[in-house]
């Protein structure tokens, strides 16, 4: 089977030169070769569309953008490979830990900070910055805040939390105590009132009762003798009578036996 030749170039040659023609990697084609290639592309019904399609295919592929890998890809790879070789793990882990925190913060802040710092570095803004600092310092001074008072320890998130909760609890305790105190005072006052009221009432009642009893007594006592009469000792005489009766009976029975 003979290869069809058009314009001095076989279709197989055209195919093998197609990549070279499009890429120009293996040296630029010579003038005559390029001429023959183009002529073949124009005249050959098979190779012409082939060239157009390959060219458009190449253009499509070259239009594809570079894809950014996920942010945690490197971290994941390092984590997985460090599991294979534990000897490398600690160094990798500490480096990663120290690196990731700062680097991530820097990466995060850089789009904002870099232009701001660049802008602030201009000499004409130096005075503005100085004035701002001065006014802030003045306000702080007037407010009684001293920079030396602000220790780094106080600015730690944990310290801030502890301080805040401490303040909250102290304030709550104070409020509760105040309220309790007020309640206590009120309770005391009302109790005092009650006591006062109570102490007034019973004395009156007692007096009344006493008066009543006196009156009753006076009514009963027709003799008008003093009450001390009640204390008179009659027991002796009465006792004597009883004993005498007993004696009598005894003596009577004795008498009867004797009779």
């Amino acid at each position: 089977m003979t290869e069809p030749t058009k314009n001095g170039m076989k279709c197989a040659d055209f195919d093998s030169r197609l990549a070279d023609a499009l890429d120009g990697l293996d040296g630029v084609m010579s003038g005559a070769e390029l001429e023959a290639f183009r002529a073949h592309a124009e005249s050959c019904s098979d190779c012409g569309p082939l060239f157009t399609q390959a060219e458009s295919g190449k253009d499509w592929l070259r239009s594809l953008a570079v894809v950014e890998p996920p942010a945690n890809l490197v971290h994941n790879i390092l984590a997985r490979t460090s599991m294979i070789d534990p000897a490398m793990a600690p160094a990798l882990a500490t480096r990663q830990a120290s690196d990731s925190w700062l680097a991530r913060a820097r990466d995060f802040a850089s789009p904002v900070l870099t232009p701001v710092l660049g802008f602030m570095a201009q000499p004409r803004l130096a005075m503005t910055a100085a004035m701002a600092f001065f006014s802030v310092a003045l306000v702080m001074n007037l407010a009684g805040v001293h920079v030396s008072d602000l220790k780094n320890v106080d600015l730690r998130p944990s310290a801030i939390t502890t301080n805040a909760s401490l303040r909250y609890n102290q304030t709550t305790a104070r409020v509760v105590k105040y309220y309790e105190n007020i309640r206590f005072v009120y309770e005391l006052e009302s109790r005092m009132k009650e006591l006062k009221k109570d102490s007034g009432k019973p004395s009156d009642q007692d007096q009344n009762q006493n008066n009543d009893r006196k009156q009753q007594h006076d009514r009963d006592n027709t003799t008008r003798n003093p009450e001390t009469n009640h204390n008179e000792n009659y027991s002796f005489e009465k006792g004597q009578d009883v004993i005498a009766v007993l004696k009598l009976e005894r003596s009577a029975s004795l008498d009867g036996r004797q009779i």
């Binding site: 190449k58 499509w60 592929l61 894809v67 790879i77 294979i84 070789d85 490398m88």
Partner: protein, 203 residues
């Protein structure tokens, strides 16, 4: 993609340090190559998740076989590319089997919670290309690329996306340069044909 003597020397010292147990050297290798490997994987598979998993697998394989790398035999980048390509071919074979056995409703990864093939087709979450102005075009080209046979796909990815020369591609794919050129031609032609057909349908 010409690699200068200085670059290869740097790579050699980096690998030496890495083999000596220097974690920082390994991290540098990962940082300098992860983007490229991820892009090859993404363009080959068309899936971000697969690309991420495969990139991790490639680095694990590199890490394990770094001792076997011989500087005299070729550039480190070519070696890495070969490894990536081998893994991609393995992945393609495996996923091809899955595609034959799985229905549209079953999830490709075999997990209950994983999105099914049907979901993935319906799912229109933005791909990394979405940020680029011509996002529809990018998606179309990626879809067309997916239709090429793996041999043609890898050839055009390495040539037109990774900008490797014929010699390096031949070394990475372990085929003669003539075959590489032929595959590139066929890959480009087929892609151009698919896209011109799609565009005619769209317009």
């Amino acid at each position: 993609m010409a690699i200068t003597a200085e670059e290869s020397q740097q790579t050699a010292s980096l690998i030496k340090r890495c083999l000596g147990g220097d974690a920082a050297a390994w991290e540098e290798i990962v940082r300098s190559h992860n983007r490229r490997i991820y892009n090859i994987c993404y363009r080959f598979t068309g899936s971000q998740d697969d690309a991420e998993d495969l990139t991790q697998e490639v680095f694990i394989r590199i890490y394990r076989t770094l001792k076997s790398y011989d500087l005299e035999r070729g550039a480190f980048t070519t070696w890495v590319t070969t490894m990536t390509r081998n893994l991609l071919v393995d992945h393609f074979r495996k996923s091809k089997q899955d595609r034959v056995t799985d229905s549209m409703d079953a999830s490709p990864s075999g997990e209950e919670d994983a999105p099914t093939l049907g979901d993935q087709i319906k799912d229109d979450k933005p791909t990394p290309d979405a940020t680029v102005a011509t996002k529809e075009t990018q998606v179309l080209v990626q879809q067309a690329l997916q239709k090429l046979s793996p041999e043609l796909r890898e050839a055009v990815i390495l040539r037109d996306i990774q900008d490797m020369d014929y010699r390096d591609i031949a070394a990475a794919l372990k085929v003669p340069e003539g075959t590489v050129k032929s595959r590139i031609n066929r890959g480009r032609t087929e892609l151009g044909r698919i896209l011109s057909r799609n565009y005619r349908q769209v317009n």
